[in-house]
């Protein structure tokens, strides 16, 4: 007689599908820094879910416990060569190894993500512990482990589909309902633990509400990651803003500022005629905080992607600027923001930070084509 038995309790199933959701959404919001806050939230959620699973692997119901699917290498080989020799309702030996690997890689992805956030974006709990060069390394680890994780997910899914065909029973459906069919009458259903499962879900929903309330209820200029201001000099701002945005000195290397001030009598065709005192104050500020000061990711990227022979006099000549703006189809239209008009898209341009999350691409209605 065949009868259904519950092997996956509710927290295990919730964990599984929530992990799938978080991974998918984090994947979709990766790369585009405008959605960095979403990516970071799903990353935190992903890590939190893994931690919950560690706990549940110790205190959960029978089939959720690590002890129930702790198989040796030889057991996996035996299972793969003679699958019929194995009869257990929980994870198969091969399946269990996939779970272990998924857990391990999952921790690597979220851990390297936290490191990247702290080092490259100067955000999160690890802010300030690492430099930008290390951040580049963390980012490389983060992306390569994420791709490996995706590969493993595909392997896991293939295994699931294969096993479902062999046993003529959908394992995916089992992970939804929790039930598998068995002929063995000794098997008993595991407890459901609904309170823990719904608490987990509620916790995530409340966290999301708190985390995204700024996006939901604040003005369109809402910035998810407010950053401390960079050093400013009021003389710098007033002198530069006579004619244009006071581009922060971190946007060009020191040698560029040197040349710009040496050529102050022909500053893009204008004779600035700065008096000696003003000139000295401006120079001092620029030489104190040039791109090499590494105060921001933009500063670090700007000077580290420059060859030492280059002395860019315009920010738009730097390789980093060009790379970051290559997808923009500049129009000659007078209503389309000019390249020097940073504020049109970067809400924190005046502060000099240029954080990715403070970027807002204008829509066609912001800049209707002129007739």
């Amino acid at each position: 007689m065949i009868s259904p038995v519950r092997i996956w309790d509710l927290p295990t199933r919730f964990f599984h599908w929530l992990l799938v959701t978080h991974f998918t959404l984090a994947w979709l919001t990766a790369g585009d820094s405008r959605y960095l806050d979403f990516h970071v939230f799903f990353g935190y959620g992903f890590l939190g879910l893994l931690l919950f699973r560690l706990l549940w692997g110790v205190i959960g119901s029978h089939y959720a416990r690590f002890s129930s699917f702790c198989y040796s290498y030889s057991a996996v080989i035996k299972f793969l060569t003679t699958p019929s020799s194995f009869s257990n309702l929980g994870h198969t030996p091969a399946g269990s190894w996939a779970i272990w690997a998924l857990l391990f890689l999952g921790f690597l992805v979220s851990g390297s993500g936290l490191l990247t956030l702290g080092a490259l974006n100067q955000l999160g709990p690890l802010e300030g512990y690492f430099n930008f060069a290390q951040g580049d390394l963390f980012h490389w680890v983060h992306t390569s482990t994420a791709w490996s994780l995706l590969g493993l997910v595909i392997l896991h899914l293939s295994g699931v589909i294969l096993a479902s065909r062999i046993h003529r029973e959908s394992l995916i459906w089992a992970m939804i309902t929790g039930f598998k069919n068995t002929t063995c009458l000794n098997e008993q259903s595991v407890p459901q633990h609904p309170l823990i499962a719904y608490s987990l879900l509620l916790f995530i929903l409340i966290s999301a509400g708190g985390y995204f309330q700024g996006r939901l209820f604040q003005n369109p200029n809402y910035q998810p990651f407010p950053s401390p201001p960079l050093p400013q000099l009021s003389l710098w701002q007033s002198e530069c803003e006579d004619c244009h945005l006071a581009y922060h000195p971190t946007l060009l290397p020191q040698r560029s500022w040197q040349q710009i001030f040496a050529e102050q009598h022909n500053h893009f065709e204008e004779d600035l005629s700065l008096d000696e005192d003003t000139l000295q104050q401006l120079k001092q500020f620029a030489f104190q905080y040039p791109a090499e000061s590494n105060l921001t990711k933009t500063a670090w990227k700007t000077h580290s992607t420059l060859s030492s022979s280059q002395i860019p006099l315009r920010i738009t000549q730097t390789p980093y600027w060009r790379e970051q703006h290559q997808t923009i189809a500049w129009k000659q239209d007078s209503n389309f923001p000019a390249k020097l008009d940073c504020v049109a898209c970067h809400q924190d341009a005046e502060s000099g930070r240029f954080t990715a999350a403070a970027m807002r691409l204008p829509t066609a209605t912001d800049f209707p084509p002129s007739r």
Binding site: E241, H244, F268, E270, D271, L272, S273, A338, L340, D341
Partner: protein, 133 residues
């Protein structure tokens, strides 16, 4: 348009009574010490609208390029597009108050527009013209 001649007449009759700011008064004194006798708002106006051909590129420039033909209107920087507040002191009370500012802009903008610094006579004429606005 009907108002234009009236405004012109009014400006003409009132111009001797327009008070120069202390800063402009001080500059006039400096210019007089250099031997300038009289300042003319008309000549200042002519200079404001005069077109200058740049030696190198042949580009044509005039004050009104950035400050617009109407000194009471907001202007725009020719290169960067930055908004320039009106020059006319009647609209913009911040104008013509600070000697340092006036000297800075007369020097920088004469060089950009004329390709050279303005003479004391030209500066006096320009200031006389601007303060009637």
């Amino acid at each position: 348009m009907k108002l234009a001649p009236i405004t012109f007449l009014l400006t003409l009759t009132l111009s001797p009574f327009i008070q120069a700011t202390p800063a402009v008064e001080e500059l006039f004194t400096q210019y007089r010490q250099k031997g300038i006798q009289e300042f003319s708002a008309d000549l200042g106006k002519n200079l404001y609208f005069q077109e200058f051909k740049l030696a190198g590129t042949g580009e044509i420039r005039q004050c009104a390029d950035c400050h617009t033909p109407d000194l009471r209107a907001q202007g725009q920087h020719a290169e960067t597009g930055k908004i320039i507040e009106p020059l006319a002191p009647s609209i913009n009370r911040q104008r013509l108050l600070d000697i340092k500012e006036i000297n800075k802009w007369l020097k920088r903008n004469c060089k950009w527009t004329l390709g050279r610094e303005c003479t004391a006579q030209e500066k006096g004429n320009l200031l006389t013209f601007i303060q009637t606005q």
